[in-house]
Structures are given as structure tokens and as C-alpha cells.
Symmetry: C2
Subunit: 132 residues, 2 copies
């Protein structure tokens, strides 16, 4: 099947699929005309990649997950370890964003939001007074 069909069936843009081929995540064979010829297995890999990416795994993590997936001798412990590391990263990111969020929310609460120039938000970003 051509890339358009593979794209529709996997939910990934054709551009993204070409990119995944470029970085060696998928290796569809080629027809005589040079078109990529995707098989069911390729589509399954693309679906897998789409889902792993949607869980925030990096491309390199996806590469590892894909090889674990293909490896019938794998230990689920290896997958779990990878997932746990990623979970920790997500948690860290959420924590950082929450700190941001709370600080910003607090500042917004302090700002009158009228036509006067006084603004606690700007003041909190200042190390003194602007001169211009």
C-alpha cells in the first residue's frame, strides 16, 4: 500500500512517516516506481509509534520500545523500567509547570487589570524600575 493509505490507517501524516523512515524507525520496501510499499507489519509499527509518541516517549525511547516489541525474548521488566523513567520525567515536567502556574496565577490575582500602569506582574519581573 502507498504512503497515503498507510498514513490514513496509522493516523500519522505522510511527512511524518517519511521522516520516520529517514531516521530508520521504519523501513518499507519500494515498488519498481520508487513508491514506498507498506505492509500490514509496517502499518502496525506506525500505529505503535503514534501511540508511544502520544504518551510522550522520545523518538529514541520509541526506537527502544519498538525493538523490545519485536523481541520475543524481551523481559517486561525492561519495558517497565523505560516507562517508569519516562513517568518520572512527566512528573517533573508537571511539577515545574504547576509551580509556574501557581506563581503566575497569584500574580494575575494581584493585578488590577485596569487602565492604570501599575502592575504587580511587571514589577515581579523587575530588578528595580525601568528607565524608559
Amino acid at each position: 500500500m502507498n504512503i497515503g493509505v498507510a498514513a490514513a490507517r496509522s493516523g500519522l501524516p505522510a511527512k511524518t512517516i517519511r521522516y520516520y523512515e529517514e531516521i530508520g524507525l521504519v523501513r518499507p520496501p519500494r515498488d519498481v516506481n520508487g513508491y514506498r510499499a507498506f505492509g500490514e507489519r509496517d502499518v502496525a509499527m506506525l500505529v505503535f509509534l503514534g501511540r508511544a509518541r502520544s504518551m510522550g516517549f522520545s523518538i529514541e525511547d520509541c526506537r527502544r520500545l519498538l525493538s523490545l516489541w519485536a523481541d520475543q525474548e524481551r523481559a517486561s521488566a525492561d519495558v517497565k523500567a523505560l516507562a517508569r523513567e519516562h513517568l518520572a520525567e512527566i512528573d517533573a515536567k508537571i511539577a515545574g509547570l504547576r509551580t509556574m502556574r501557581d506563581t503566575l496565577d497569584h500574580l494575575i490575582g494581584q493585578c488590577a487589570g485596569d487602565d492604570r500602569p501599575d502592575c504587580p506582574i511587571l514589577e515581579s519581573f523587575s530588578a528595580g524600575r525601568p528607565s524608559g
Copy 2:
């Protein structure tokens, strides 16, 4: 003052400061030897930028905030509106990450994490069975 001192005082890497000049966020004058000559006002701007960036504002938002900061005729409502928009973006990002986090956490909880190959995490990424 030279870029090294401005970097130390603002907490920003020298490289970042050069980048901010390149994109027109700061415009320090030059000494005869070609070195950037930062004044107190420049340092104040850099501190401002560092704090605004640490709140997750984009460079373009920072540009707007900086011009509001410099504008004595500003209305705090404009700042507040910008901050509110940004807060909404942060909230959306947190919500997305939380969904990811919960899904992943759930999958991790289902995975035995032993030396056997069966893995609900990989299965959830699959649209069937891997063939290799």
C-alpha cells in the same frame, strides 16, 4: 560592563544574551574594541527577560512584556490579558501531561515487570501482534 559581568548579574549565559541581542530583545552599545558594553538598564532588561522566560512566556511574549514594561502609559489590563492567555496555555499543557501521566501510570501498574515477555504496555501500543 562586559558580557561576562552582565551574564553573572542577570543569571543568563553569555550565549543567551548574544542570542537575545541577535533577535533584538536587547541592544547594548559597543566599546571601541567591539565588546558589548552593558549598562544598568540592560542588566535590568536581562533580569526581566530571565524571569519572564522562567514563567514560560515565549520570546515573542517577552518582547511584548518588555515593551509594556518600558511604556509608562501602559494599561495593566494589557499585561493581565497576556498573562491570562499564557496561564491558559500552561493549564492546557498540564492537563495534557496529566492525561499522559495517568494512562502511563495505569499501564505500569498492570505490567508484571519480570523476566517474561508479556507486557500490557507494549500491548496497549499495538494494533495486534508484532510479527518479528
